[in-house]
Symmetry: C2
Subunit: 350 residues, 2 copies
């Protein structure tokens, strides 16, 4: 079998009709990794959805890894997904790139311009914040309600049925995303340093984190922290914090309780601005919960605490834990947007 | 005049007696920049001190800019100081490198090994955290008392007369140095984002920071923040926060009050561990105050508030605002360490 990789692949001749075996690429680029799925454009809405291929690469948030590395990662993950699905660029009829770090129309335009260099003009291109795909993953492509993502990073994002949107948080660790996996872990590391130098109370986090990292002393934590400032690497300490809290450590419990407050406040800010709960807060709307901070199947259930906190004010919020991943949500978004055209045309080809 | 730059300079033959015109290099590497001074080894203790040359370069904290760039900066700043003082490597009898990011004996050893490659074996080498030089700058080379640095970063560092030492904070922005210029500025940026997305109260910081940065909307702050994550660049927002607080903004005032508490708690942790204040806290000890957060000549005087907060518990603390800069403190440290040898020998040569 002839293999194409990277640029080579994008440069092959369009040897097939763009309508034969057409596919949609959905990409979810979070703070930890990037997932691409390839689904048939003429997809009947089955359960489970017919995902032709799925590929994974590293972080593609340009704010975290820089623009060049982000693009390399996105290029690679899409190339590999097409290879794995035995499709070519010419089979692609739509791409939805939903990536963390798209916070401004300029970010969106820059990404669209770059995508346009990779795909010919008939291919529909969509660029969104990764939160939008996460919402779509819970609502099967419909943009209505609020999504809360709390993985390495965190963001709340909402849409009304008539297309208004709002977001809260998602500004990264420097700008106070304290409920994120990174935020929780950084607060735990800080608590260890404070206990060590006498500014804060003793905590089980010290031994638990040092054991987890194989370090001998809190002195070594500073070097460990700065030798590689990848947000995902810091966020990987989350389970240690949860276990310490479950073990009764007060400092760890306080960090988790604060994080619940932060995450709930992001959701409430979005819901309030969009009036998703109606006049009395009782109007029903989906609250899609995504990310390892919320999904962890622990006794200390951060996601459940956040829902309890939100529903005190907005009893109409109904939580959804999506069955499909955000990358599929991204693909569904693109699918919805081109569905009408496809209905009358492509579906008859396959 | 023949010019030597960088490596070339270190490689020249030792054409002079090492005792003729001997000099000491003192280097202060903080989070924002690196200063090197060259002083005569056979220096009489005049006021002002006879500084032969002074050079400045960028940040040399390896945790912030990486080891390679840190070394390049240190190499360059020392080379230029010698050139400016019309001295050569063979004139150097001692070097004291006091740099932020030296937090562990391994950091110290790595830096010493590298310095040893630059200087022959008879040159006395000292590597310390930059806080140690800052203390020495306030006590004319004597290591006793506590220093609080709050510039881009922050650390408290103390010594007893019998050589015990302790530190607090200085663990960088990920690990909670909230009283630093960076910490204050990051909290202010966070407050702007929170006000904008509805999680926090309105604040004058929004307009004041956007005006200062020439940005049109808080949306643009995320891009601005992550396009260059240099700690010093963020910390440059400090005056805007102070002005906003002086203008009566509650959010800015709260950030500054919290920072005072953080900085005072670092000092108290060190003083308590070293028992610098004696049994009743009244025993006198120098409290050396260094850095732009503490020196700012504003109505909102952070340094004064910190001193007030510390002296409530330790009335013996007497604040010193050094007349010489930390780089001179570094040179004085080295001078003190070799003084006995020099007294009997080199001073007679000059």
């Amino acid at each position: 079998m002839q293999r194409y990789t990277g640029r080579e692949m994008w440069d092959v001749d369009e040897c097939q009709s763009p309508r034969m075996g057409s596919v949609i690429l959905g990409v979810d680029g979070g703070a930890s990794n990037t997932v691409c799925v390839c689904i048939p454009a003429a997809m009947p809405f089955n359960d489970p959805l017919p995902v032709l291929s799925r590929t994974v690469a590293g972080c593609s948030n340009h704010n975290s890894v820089g623009e060049e590395r982000a693009r390399e990662t996105l290029d690679r993950v899409m190339t590999q997904a097409l290879l794995k699905a035995r499709r070519r660029r010419s089979n692609v009829c739509a791409v939805c790139l939903a990536v963390a770090g798209v916070n401004h129309p300029l970010d969106q335009q820059r990404m669209l311009d770059w995508l346009r260099e990779l795909f010919p003009s008939h291919v529909k291109l969509f660029v969104e914040n990764d939160a939008v795909a996460a919402l779509a993953s819970g609502t099967m492509g419909k943009l209505h309600g609020c999504v809360l993502i709390a993985g390495t990073g965190t963001i709340a994002y909402g849409f009304t049925s008539d297309g208004r949107e709002a977001r809260a948080a998602g500004a990264g660790p420097v700008l106070g995303d304290w409920g994120s996996g990174y935020g929780i872990a950084a607060q735990a590391l800080t608590a260890v340093v404070r206990a060590y130098d006498g500014r804060g109370p003793e905590t089980d986090l010290t031994n638990n984190i040092l054991d987890f990292l194989g370090l001998a002393s809190p002195d070594e934590l500073i070097g460990w922290t700065y030798e590689d400032q990848s947000w995902a690497r810091i966020a990987d300490l989350l389970p240690v914090v949860v276990q310490s809290a479950e073990g009764g450590d007060e400092v760890a419990n306080k960090i988790l309780h604060n994080s619940v407050g932060e995450l709930a406040s992001s959701v409430k800010a979005v819901v309030q601005r969009l009036e998703l709960g109606g006049d009395d807060g009782k109007y029903p709307f989906p609250l899609v919960m995504v990310g390892k901070v919320l999904e962890a199947n622990n006794r200390w259930d951060i996601g459940k605490e956040v829902i309890d906190c939100v529903t005190k004010n907005y009893s109409g919020a109904y939580p959804i834990h999506p069955k499909v991943e955000p990358a599929v949500g991204a693909a569904l978004l693109a699918w919805n947007a081109i569905a009408r055209e496809l209905d009358g045309d492509i579906q008859t080809v396959q």
